[in-house]
Symmetry: C2
């Protein structure tokens, strides 16, 4: 018998019928004899309603009060799921963050979990009791509720899995796993059986929005085997309770991935904008002078490329920002033109960043060249390139997004079953 | 400077605009230099929504889980009011039941408050901090949330007032005080300046639904001066902040009522039904044989009248039940006819109980006779009478309800300004 954490998000617990469906997933695992802890989010829409009320009360508000209000959403779901499980004959009880307790730091509204005292929950596994834990929340040092920031229930689940030494943390969501690319763009996209933590981090931060980035980081640090699967499938369909090979994608240490592929996935991020500063004076500290004010203004700068300028006595600085931040970034840069000492500012929006991801590329050469060649053959112009150990990101005109994704998906052999 | 508890019910905090209005009441008292603790209910409709979800999840459910779900309503209001107060420049923080803590017994769903540790709240009065306390809830011995049963926020407020030694507990509600009778029936009804705890208990339990009966009992035991006033008046209107004579009705010890009146109010309760058992064998234990099964079935028996039967060798037993319980009561009695040994069962519904209330009647004679004479003069037939030290209750045909209330209101001089 194994020990499992099951996590269900807001759409999975959106109403009582869906909570009943969630309870059937939980019952299946409990009936199989596993120790089960469940982590739940607020019912879909509830958190937004509660946040809206706080903003209506005052646009600027005490994060401790915000936490007390907003954490109530998960509290409600946990109680309702416990009631539903009991009605199905499953021994269950709800736990609020302060009851476990899940101890956090004092950063109300965006707290980090510091410690989980799961002794009582583990003790009750011996009585075959399922723990239903309210996600997204904990107890801060001031003895008040702290929330972990949006999407924090994923983090709660992974932290709980680490605390109870779970064999696996199953994240039930509205997709049935992690795909080699977006299936809405490339119907040949395949669900991966396994993906490494590092690859998942690149996939998630690049817009394959399945899991919170922070929860993947935490899973990587604590080596929590995390499994992405669908909450909307029939809980009692064949194979759903197969412990060794359930339907979904396992996010795990790369050691567990026997047949490593060079490239495992293609991610993309639309609505990027590019800014180029021409003939910036080439002196120490110039990058800080440019990116410091942007960071202070909360502009998220991504790909940065620095080139010798044409004349050779200065430098050209090119970087991307989200298209929504372009006007703000441009205003900041133009205001500071005299300090930054550049000749001209050029910008372009409507761009897409396409990324090729794979831990195998660390030991393979020519992966980038393959991408450049394939895109060129389709007439897709490359505006900027950045690379890391396990990722190549390429900036292109947004009109070519789907063509580029399909081209790269094909050229690395991801189309094959 | 005084120490006050202010309590606001669900309609008073029904949306953010109303919460803002409530905050103005609180700010007025805080600005006057008083120590202020506020007790709040859930936003109107929220508790019903949460209860509905619990029932949908399972008609029969764990009261501990019900409590975790339902208590979230008050938690939300407390946080939102604290935010609103802070935005108005008032130093405030919210307290959930488990944070104070308000300790209750283990009767989840209908818990009783056992102890409130208000030391930290009182300490913060020195820092001029307003405590915003979630009503209706506390911490049970099992370290889980317990709720006090419907309307429990009134009880929370009175208990908090006793714990902090408040000079007064102001119950803000949707009426502006306690009236000599229902103003919808008798426009000449007057708001009482003061009413004794004992009288209020009779008024409340007889259908003048202003305050929970339990909270009045608690106020009486702890001698908490309780003040009923309107939350919908302009918080800054003249006189609203007058500490000695604000607009509303003070419920207090009878010692504080200098000019005691013989009769202070006329209450009524519609939709009563009467059951008569004819020629019941007159032997010891017969009352227990009749009322035991009814109590077991949850039928609330009220006025009980026992007479010698016409022939003199048996007894007639007459009593009232809520009209909605008549069928159930009749079925129980007919099933047990052989054990109870009565000749015939007669019943009648559509009745009203009218009550004359006043502590002064303890030292006055002829109060009941005045009522009987006045009703007779209007042609109103009396079906049953019961009396206590401070109350005379009369059962009449429901069609005569308004006429009887007006007649009694007039005959005891309550019409006069």
């Amino acid at each position: 018998m194994a020990r499992l954490v099951l996590k269900f998000g807001g759409t999975s617990v959106g109403d009582i019928d869906r909570i009943r469906n969630v309870a059937r997933h939980v019952k299946r695992e409990a009936d199989a004899g596993h120790d089960v802890a469940v982590v739940v989010s607020a019912m879909a829409g509830k958190t937004n309603e509660l946040v809206g009320w706080c903003r209506q009360a005052s646009p600027i508000h005490d994060a401790r009060e915000y936490d007390a209000v907003v954490a109530s959403g998960e509290q409600v779901t946990a109680g309702l799921l416990a009631i539903t499980l009991q009605a199905m004959g499953v021994n269950a009880r709800s736990w609020q963050g302060w009851q476990v307790p899940i101890r956090t730091d004092g950063s109300h509204g965006a707290a980090r979990i510091q410690d989980i005292d799961a002794a009582e929950i583990v003790r009750r596994f011996e009585e075959r009791q399922v723990a239903v834990v309210a996600g997204f929340q904990g107890l801060a040092p001031d003895n008040r509720i702290a929330t972990l920031g949006r999407g924090g229930s994923d983090t709660s689940a992974v932290a709980m899995a680490a605390a109870i030494g779970a064999d696996r943390c199953d994240i039930y969501t509205d997709v049935d796993g992690v795909y080699t690319t977006d299936p809405r763009i490339e119907p040949k996209a395949r669900r991966m059986a396994r993906i490494s933590f590092e690859e998942m981090l690149e996939m998630a931060s690049l817009g394959a929005k399945v899991l919170q980035v922070r929860s993947v980081e935490l899973a990587m640090v604590h080596k929590v085997r995390t499994f992405v699967r669908s909450s909307f499938e029939d809980p009692d369909a064949p194979g759903m309770g197969d412990f060794d090979n359930p339907p979904g994608t396992l996010i795990c240490d790369e050691d567990e991935i026997v047949e490593q592929q060079v490239v495992t996935g293609i991610a993309y991020s639309k609505d990027e904008a590019q800014i180029s500063l021409r003939r910036v004076e080439d002196r120490p500290g110039v990058a800080a002078a440019i990116f410091g004010p942007l960071a202070d203004a909360g502009v998220n700068v991504d790909m940065i490329v620095q080139n010798i300028s044409e004349s050779g006595d200065a430098t050209d600085m090119t970087f991307t920002v989200p298209a929504g931040d372009l006007d703000k970034a441009t205003a900041i840069l133009e205001k500071a033109k005299s300090q930054m000492r550049y000749d001209a500012l050029q910008s372009e929006s409507g761009l897409t960043k396409v990324s090729v991801i794979g831990i195998g590329m660390r030991s393979h050469t020519g992966v980038a060249a393959t991408a450049f060649k394939a895109l060129a053959a389709r007439g897709i112009n490359i505006k900027a390139i950045t690379t890391s150990e396990i990722k190549i990101s390429i900036l292109i005109d947004g009109d070519f997004t789907e063509l580029a994704v399909r081209t790269l998906h094909g050229v690395y052999g991801l189309d094959k079953a």
